[in-house]
């Protein structure tokens, strides 16, 4: 990227995706705010670090992922119960009018909180960022096979946990 990063444009283009990704990883809105702010402050301060980025979205997701993993590790040493507590209370999906769908979203949010952060990151990038396994692998610095297996494990756990709700939703639709 050329010198003189347009921080406002970067924010407008990518903040929503980064917010959803960070919220999924941290399970905490205040932490998400701090990490997002830290990320954009870093970009504004060290423009040269962003000089070689090929794909803005992937570069920013990588920065966000690294920052979130650091935070999760720090938090794990500080308070091992906090993440579990937050995972039971945070909802990362938009509210919806359909009560059944709302229940499904809340349960999905809780189920995502039960996944290990590595699986959660891959599942999020695959489902809600529509990245391929190759793109996920490059972004998270893992192999495509690892990305695929983490995704498969994660989705299987979600399916096990949400099977009943999902079947009810489907039967109600029919």
């Amino acid at each position: 990227m050329p010198r003189g990063l347009d921080i406002k444009r970067l924010y407008d283009d990518h903040a929503q995706s980064l917010y959803a990704f960070l919220l999924n990883l941290t399970r905490n809105e205040a932490d998400t705010h701090d990490l997002l702010q830290e990320l954009f402050v870093k970009l504004a301060r060290e423009e040269s670090s962003a000089a070689g980025m090929q794909n803005e979205r992937h570069f920013l997701i990588r920065l966000a992922h690294n920052a979130a993993i650091d935070l999760i590790r720090r938090r794990a040493t500080r308070d091992r119960t906090r993440e579990q507590f937050a995972a039971e209370n945070i909802s990362q999906f938009a509210p919806v009018n359909d009560p059944d769908e709302q229940v499904f979203r809340e349960e999905l949010s809780v189920a995502l909180g039960g996944l290990p952060p590595d699986q959660r990151a891959v599942v999020h990038l695959k489902l809600w960022q529509a990245l391929t396994f190759e793109e996920i692998a490059r972004t998270l610095d893992i192999s495509p096979n690892t990305a695929a297996s983490r995704y498969r494990y994660g989705v299987d756990k979600l399916r096990d946990r949400l099977r009943l709700l999902y079947d009810e939703l489907k039967s109600a639709e029919q």
Partner: protein, 140 residues
């Protein structure tokens, strides 16, 4: 992609709070302006930039420390006087001084009861001769 995954994909993530935009962009702008932290291109300017970045947190404290060192140096130099030993070492040796030293040496030899004044140059001359010849003379 199977229907379950498709259904998951359709779940809309929460919207980022709108007030965050101004907060985060203000913080980013402040960070950018704060130190004008863009690295300059030339070597000297880059060195100055790094020094400024290093001293930036407490410039007054660093300036006070530097000033106090300057004051200490000035006071130290103003009170400094050369010692007598240094003055002697720096003074040139005159022929009169050499003659006086020679007289004192002769007088010392007489007082010590030596028959002749030790000649340092002679020992040096012997030291320069080959050892084999020295050994031959000694044997003879």
């Amino acid at each position: 992609m199977e229907s379950f995954e498709q259904h998951l994909r359709q779940q809309q993530p929460r919207e980022i709070p709108s007030e965050w935009r101004s907060q985060i962009l203000c913080a980013a702008e402040a960070a950018s302006v704060q130190g004008n932290l863009r690295m300059p291109d030339t070597l000297i300017a880059r060195l100055g930039w790094q020094i400024r970045a290093y001293l930036w947190p407490h410039p007054i404290a660093w300036a006070a420390l530097g000033a106090s060192w300057v004051v200490i140096l000035v006071v130290n130099l103003s009170l400094h006087e050369p010692s007598p030993m240094m003055a002697k070492k720096s003074a040139p040796v005159t022929p009169d001084t050499l003659a006086e030293l020679k007289r004192e040496r002769v007088l010392f030899a007489e007082v010590a009861g030596l028959s002749e004044v030790p000649d340092v140059d002679r020992a040096k001359k012997n030291a320069l001769e080959p050892r084999t010849e020295n050994g031959g003379q000694a044997m003879a």
